[in-house]
Symmetry: C2
Subunit: 222 residues, 2 copies
DNA sequence: TAGATTGTTAATCGATTAACAATC
DNA sequence: TAGATTGTTAATCGATTAACAATC
């Protein structure tokens, strides 16, 4: 059950690609039952060898001479990413970004369930969140909630200037993973996982590639 | 004025880091006028050598024996990323994600101005966007608008299943850059720049690192 | 001049690709 | 068995790091 991958074989790039493979496979699921590395590579804008190498890092999922079963591969990748079960997450910050995440269950995707939302603004506290059966709670109760409910994943959607302070508190409370939606780069000497999903940074990257078309030789600049 | 960097020296990673350096420097601007590569590296969770290498790819911005001027470095990086001037962008899709972007000018950050918003839903068309002086337009007018106004950058925040079709049309209309907020991986044989900013993919990555703490040896898994 | 820190050239490390053996 | 396509081992390529020369 508990698969063991070697640290030297799993890189950040591979994990990022895994999430992309999954997206492609989900699109494909209704249309065709099987796929080979060549076609998957085309859709990923990469090479067939990389597809096979990536997948084989985690196990032998294909059938030689044939290819991969789309549905089986989806299940494998979901299992690798730990989204075959439902993971509880909480959201801190109910501003524009927070609201978008809270009001749109699609945004989180399969495997994640939003169980609580916190904000420090008294005008927002107590507001009902559409579709989910929860209300915005007072941010001052947040750490208590985390410890009581053993929350392991937090989406941080607060003002950038408070991000570092709040993150420190979260880690102290035992949080293992933070999705950082703020423009602030979090400094964490602990072993908490942090992934940045700040839109403005992405837009800046994009703009660089736009104004320097001659530099986008390589295929991948996600 | 027009700086020329060699393609072999500029990688996607460097550009991504550039946007992060900028964020750190902006935080720092009010607090201290100068910084050296050692301190900047600490805040970035990387090494001083990498900081210097990254920056020197684009020019000589530092003073030997001293370090870098925070404000000058900010200006340089903004210039490299092309956000020292205002770039017009349009938004396609006024659902939860689109609304979040349109209603929150902060989200785009410096250097970008939202000039038009499109949606195909007749209930949304005509709606006034708070703070910006624009209304949601009919998506059917979108391509015409792009061609007329020479729009080069589009934020795509529509349903994943339409993403590929719309992207093809955008490229045909001369769009140079797409910020893809959808969960769909866009296949583009043209030389349009695309950067993905799908939140659910990031959350999946994050979850992998959470459940495999022994694999997060390296510092950087953004 | 001595001390500090940058920018660059060379060495190492890691990730991608090529070649091929395994097997359906 | 022949054809196809996977999974893996070895070779190449690119990115990071180390060493050091430049210079404030």
């Amino acid at each position: 059950m508990t698969k063991k991958y070697s640290p030297k074989d799993v890189s950040g790039r591979i994990v990022a690609r895994l999430a992309l493979y999954l997206g492609i496979l989900k699109d494909l699921e209704k249309v065709q039952p099987e796929i080979n590395s060549i076609e998957l590579a085309q859709r990923m804008n990469t090479t067939a060898v990389q597809v096979r190498k990536d997948l084989s890092t985690f196990g032998e999922f294909g059938v030689r001479g044939k290819g991969y079963s789309v549905s089986a591969l989806i299940r494998e990748i979901e299992s690798i990413l730990g989204i075959d079960k439902e993971n509880e997450v909480i959201l801190i910050g109910y501003g524009h970004v927070g609201k978008m995440i809270a009001c749109n269950t699609n945004v989180l995707g399969k495997g994640f369930k939003l169980t609580a939302v916190f904000d420090k603004d008294s005008r927002k506290i107590g507001k009902e969140i559409p579709n989910l059966n929860i209300k915005v709670s007072d941010a001052s109760k947040c750490l208590e909630y985390i410890e009581k409910n053993k929350v392991h994943t937090v989406i941080l959607a607060i003002n950038a200037e408070y991000a570092q302070v709040v993150a420190n508190q979260l880690i102290h409370s035992g949080v293992e993973a933070i999705l950082n939606m703020t423009a602030s780069k979090l400094e964490l000497n602990s072993n908490t996982a942090v992934v940045n999903a700040d839109i403005s940074a992405k837009l800046k990257e994009l703009n660089f590639w736009r104004i320097n078309p001659e530099l986008r030789g390589g295929i991948n600049f996600d």
